[in-house]
């Protein structure tokens, strides 16, 4: 109802166009190299999936990194045992993440609110520790799971002779590094966005919104909320598994640190920063955080000095030394400030900011008609 002005098909087309054209429009921002573009797409998938759970049902999971990690491990095992083709790797990643999500969700969804969050965090930390030490034969512990020359690769060995050196991941012969790798992730992202959009607009999505709004009323309306929430949990776990397997496709190794709680926290930040419960918001949040992590952190005082060289020396020195705190290794500081500003002034995330700008722009053009609907919707209750 909220964004009824734009047709879903148009929205989807714009999204697909913007994602596929990322190498072009990110060039002036210095972010058009494939490694980073892949990260944008992969973490976009992670955040969009997380939003299906958190945005629609309101259940805040602090353990989604576990699904990211198991997706990576499953993908690397698929590379080791079967084939270097990306498709089976992605399928295994999604499947195993879905299974783990079913188990964790089944147990955690017995509680709501903070207790649910703590349960998911506990399960994720358990998974991390299992991967780090207990399950070393499967995960290769601290070192991380890597490809090796001795891997059986049953399917590949039927068709091609193993060459010297490690094989690289491919999609039916097309190497999955560089731009082809990005476009593979981008197509996955677009499919994921489409599915998420369908869920948002479906009766199932409406039920999830009902769970977020008033679980009591759902029960007294004859709806069993547990399987609905569990389905949402498994779907978002599968999204995370897909993201994890894509990380392995673009760089075939998996380490336990992918399951760390910081990775779980990061996707929460992405979703809140972009806009909880909006379709595109989480993607924007994911892009922003990955941009900061990779570009902002590469700035150093020399770059700043170049930018401010037009100022007199004494002034530019002060400016550079102050701004220097916020770039380079201090990028977390900038991100923290940005996060605070967004949460305090735009609780609906960056998407709320965009909505406000658009409605301001509209109402200045046709003040009478639009003001009426907006003000009547925002009337305080009682």
């Amino acid at each position: 109802m909220k964004n009824g002005t734009m047709n879903d098909l148009t929205r989807f087309a714009i999204f697909a166009g913007v994602v596929l054209a990322m190498p072009l429009w990110l060039e002036p921002l210095g972010a058009n190299y494939p490694d980073l573009l892949q990260k944008f797409a992969i973490y976009g998938i992670f955040a969009i999936g997380f939003n299906i759970l958190f945005g629609l049902t309101g259940y805040l999971s602090f353990g989604h990194a576990a699904f990211l990690g198991i997706g990576s491990y499953a993908a690397v095992w698929s590379f080791k045992l079967f084939t270097m083709n990306a498709i089976p790797a992605v399928i295994f990643g999604v499947l195993f993440a879905g299974l783990l999500a079913y188990v964790i969700g089944f147990l955690s969804l017995r509680r709501t609110g903070i207790y649910f969050s703590i349960l998911t965090l506990a399960f994720a930390q358990m998974s991390y520790n299992l991967a780090y030490s207990v399950l070393t034969p499967i995960t290769n512990g601290e070192t991380g799971l890597q490809l090796s020359q001795q891997d059986p690769r049953i399917i590949d060995s039927l068709f091609v002779e193993a060459g010297a050196g490690l094989p690289s991941t491919n999609l039916f012969g097309m190497k999955m590094s560089g731009y082809p790798g990005f476009y593979f992730c981008a197509v996955m992202l677009i499919i994921c966005f489409f599915i998420s959009m369908r869920i948002f607009r479906s009766p199932f999505g409406l039920m999830l919104k009902g769970i977020k709004s008033n679980q009591n009323r759902m029960n007294y309306t004859g709806l069993n909320t547990r399987p609905y929430a569990l389905t949402a949990f498994v779907i978002s776990g599968m999204y995370a598994g897909l993201a994890g397997s894509l990380l392995a496709v673009t760089d075939p190794l998996a380490g336990a640190e992918r399951m760390q709680w910081t990775a779980s926290g990061e996707v929460v930040l992405m979703t809140i920063l972009g806009g909880v419960g909006t379709l595109v918001g989480p993607m924007i949040g994911a892009g922003l955080i990955k941009y900061f992590e990779n570009i902002f952190s590469a700035f150093n005082n020399n770059v700043l000095a170049d930018i401010f060289s037009f100022l007199p020396d004494s002034v530019s020195e002060v400016v550079v030394s102050v701004l220097g705190l916020f770039v380079g290794s201090g990028w977390h500081l900038t991100l923290g400030l940005l996060f605070m500003v967004v949460v305090i002034f735009l609780p609906g995330g960056i998407m709320e900011g965009i909505d406000r700008v658009i409605s301001k722009f509209r109402s200045s053009r046709q003040p009478v008609a639009d003001n009426k609907t907006v003000s009547s919707q925002n009337q305080p209750g009682e």
Binding site: R201, F204, T221, N224
Partner: protein, 252 residues
């Protein structure tokens, strides 16, 4: 005599040392409106909570049309056909009025759980028409795209009533459905509830407003200190000396 559909047998409920319901027995005839009145703290809401599965009685059982309700989960009881309007409206405040009514419409059509992720809301013409029709019945159709949380208290109650009616329940439990409404809205709600009466739904209504009770109820039971102290037609109950004492005399 009509068929008795709802039986409450020897219901007991204690909260700590306090006994909220002491051996309550009640039978309700199909298609009638049964009012439960009584002073504050008499156990009226507890009685409804026992019926819808929010509370489990310590003893006794509730049966509706052959289904035993005690021990079942709230959503199972609702699927059997028992709907409830709460004392403080339980609605979906962040969603639009139309969405508020669509959710129970899906519950009626699809049951307690159905994975319905491929269909789109925009293709649910039939259910949407039904939802709009119900909103029209309660006089809220003009507000259907508004957010439910922005409604006045009286409108929220009418929305909740619409949400229950679209479930087409066989038993409707109303906990003070007109509290907080203006006289005009109260009369509208009475008219609406009278209309449903002709559709053959059984209703239990808790109400303080005697005007509402005497306009709607076929039978009245009086609950005081967790016990039913009187019952009968509204006229009989009005003349009962025990009732007058419970309301006016109070202290023993």
């Amino acid at each position: 005599m009509e068929k008795l559909v709802l039986h409450l047998d020897n219901i007991q409920k204690n909260f700590g040392g306090l006994s909220a319901l002491k051996d309550v027995n009640l039978q309700v005839e199909e298609g009638t409106t049964h009012a439960i009145i009584g002073p504050n703290g008499a156990g009226k809401s507890t009685l409804l909570n026992v019926c819808v599965g929010r509370l489990k009685p310590d003893m006794g059982k509730v049966t509706f049309d052959g289904h035993e309700l005690t021990g079942r989960k709230p959503h199972e009881i609702a699927q059997i056909g028992v709907a409830r309007v709460f004392q403080t409206p339980e609605i979906f405040p962040e969603l639009s009025l139309l969405e508020n009514v669509m959710i129970p419409a899906f519950s009626k059509r699809d049951g307690a759980f159905r994975l319905n992720g491929y269909q789109q809301l925009s293709a649910q013409g039939e259910l949407r028409a039904e939802a709009e029709h119900i909103l029209e019945d309660v006089g809220l159709q003009e507000l259907m795209h508004h957010i439910a949380g922005s409604l006045s208290r009286g409108d929220k109650r009418r929305l909740e009533l619409a949400m229950c009616l679209i479930l087409r329940p066989r038993l409707l439990l109303l906990d003070e459905p007109t509290a907080g409404m203006s006289r005009h809205d109260t009369n509208r709600t009475i008219d609406l509830l009278k209309q449903i009466k002709s559709r053959g739904m059984t209703k239990i209504i808790i109400e303080h407003d005697m005007h509402v009770v005497f306009s709607l109820a076929d039978r009245v039971s009086v609950l005081a200190r967790g016990q039913i102290i009187a019952g009968g037609t509204p006229e009989e109950v009005r003349e009962d000396p025990k009732v007058k004492e419970a309301y006016l005399g109070g202290a023993h």
